[in-house]
């Protein structure tokens, strides 16, 4: 499906490359439809429609995600399978020792992050919790290649399922904090997440096509650095771009922001591992 081959001779063929040509496309991965547009929910009144980051990318980038072989994230998912099965730590266990089939994690990514015992718990927290408390192993760094390989593997098990993150009850206070962070201007450029991703999605910021900043596809393989990127790593990058001092990966601020952002995608499908620019 990648390209049509035209073998005519001496004909100058020029097709216009409409910058926004990808907007109306639908995402099919190896034939399976993944929802990249959804109706807005009560808590995102400023948006007209929920759109996955996939819909903002050029055709050539979109195509890379439409095939699980073309998608380079999968070589790292394969490494994630190796890590999942590898014994690590003083307890002599692997992830598989307790969790057996990774397919059993279907549904987990769709509801993450969640609040446990009053604290926001992300996928990275779950992995490191197991490693340090049950495997006798060292914690992995938040955005390391090992961590992103495993969170991509686990996230993949929920691919296609609707995001459904809890915002009320024990999550309410954290969610409100995340929302406040989303709308607070910071940095030398004095901008908030909302300035770009809510007020200007669809517009160009220099040469980038602004998305809604949804995180339903993370960890994502970025063409820019040819590797899987975690949610907090991406937050850090954005904050640096507006010349703010970024919060730390794994910090309470980034976790609250992750919770709020995840809820903005409620209704969209999990797309992990996605391909972005």
């Amino acid at each position: 499906m990648y390209l049509k081959k035209i073998l005519s001779a001496s004909v100058l063929i020029i097709s216009a490359n409409f910058v926004f040509a990808g907007e109306d496309d639908n995402l099919l991965i190896d034939g399976e439809a993944i929802l990249v547009r959804a109706a807005v929910q009560a808590h995102t009144p400023e948006l007209d429609i929920l759109r996955s980051g996939w819909t903002f990318r050029k055709d050539s980038t979109q195509e890379i995600q439409m095939d699980d072989f073309d998608n380079p994230a999968f070589v790292f998912v394969d490494q994630g399978i190796d890590f999942y099965n590898a014994v690590d730590g003083t307890a002599g266990k692997s992830c598989a020792s307790c969790h057996s089939d990774v397919e059993k994690f279907a549904g987990l990514r769709a509801s993450m992050p969640r609040v446990q015992n009053g604290n926001i718990t992300t996928m990275e927290d779950l992995v490191n919790g197991c490693r340090t408390e049950r495997m006798g192993a060292d914690a992995w760094k938040w955005s390391s290649s090992k961590m992103t390989a495993v969170t991509a593997l686990i996230g993949l098990q929920s691919r296609g399922m609707p995001i459904s993150v809890k915002m009320d009850g024990s999550a309410a206070a954290h969610w409100s904090k995340g929302k406040e962070l989303y709308y607070t201007r910071v940095g030398q450029l004095d901008m908030s997440c909302a300035n770009c991703h809510e007020e200007n999605y669809g517009n160009m910021i220099r040469a980038d096509h602004l998305s809604q900043g949804q995180i339903n596809g993370f960890p994502t393989y970025r063409l820019k650095n040819s590797k899987l990127n975690s949610i907090h790593a991406r937050f850090k990058g954005c904050m640096k771009n507006i010349r703010a001092t970024p919060y730390k990966e794994g910090s309470e601020e980034f976790k609250a922001l992750e919770l709020y952002l995840a809820s903005r995608a409620n209704g969209l499908s999990v797309e992990t591992p996605s391909v972005r620019n």
């Binding site: 072989f69 073309d70 380079p72 999968f74 070589v75 394969d78 040819s226 590797k227």
Partner: protein
């Protein structure tokens, strides 16, 4: 051996004699171009996969010479003729002397 290098290939498991099939290959490799500079301003030396070959039952399908302009995690898609049942052998050669291999069988009815 460079760290974390993992090859991946996509080959159909069956074919009819004489079929032309599409093969996709990917290998996780940094492909350090030799252009990047480290914190001290010194160029990080080049370290790439410099050659990729695919052969079937010993006969060459494709032989690619790679230069630093091939992206990180080199990807190739190409077509091959499958004359009979046999084995595709994929080999990647690293600047550091390492050789990575992957083998895939195809059975012809």
């Amino acid at each position: 051996m460079a760290k974390g290098v993992k090859p991946r290939v996509k080959v159909p498991k069956t074919a009819s004699a004489g079929d032309i099939i599409t093969i996709k290959t990917l290998i996780s490799h940094k492909m350090e171009s030799g252009q990047r500079k480290n914190k001290d301003g010194n160029k990080i030396p080049r370290s790439i996969i410099n050659r990729f070959t695919c052969s079937f039952n010993g006969q060459n399908v494709i032989d690619v010479a790679l230069e630093p302009a091939i992206s990180t995690n080199p990807y190739f898609q190409f077509d091959a003729v499958v004359p009979e049942t046999g084995e595709f052998k994929f080999i990647w050669h690293d600047d550091d002397g390492s050789v990575y291999e992957k083998v895939k069988s195809v059975s012809v009815a």
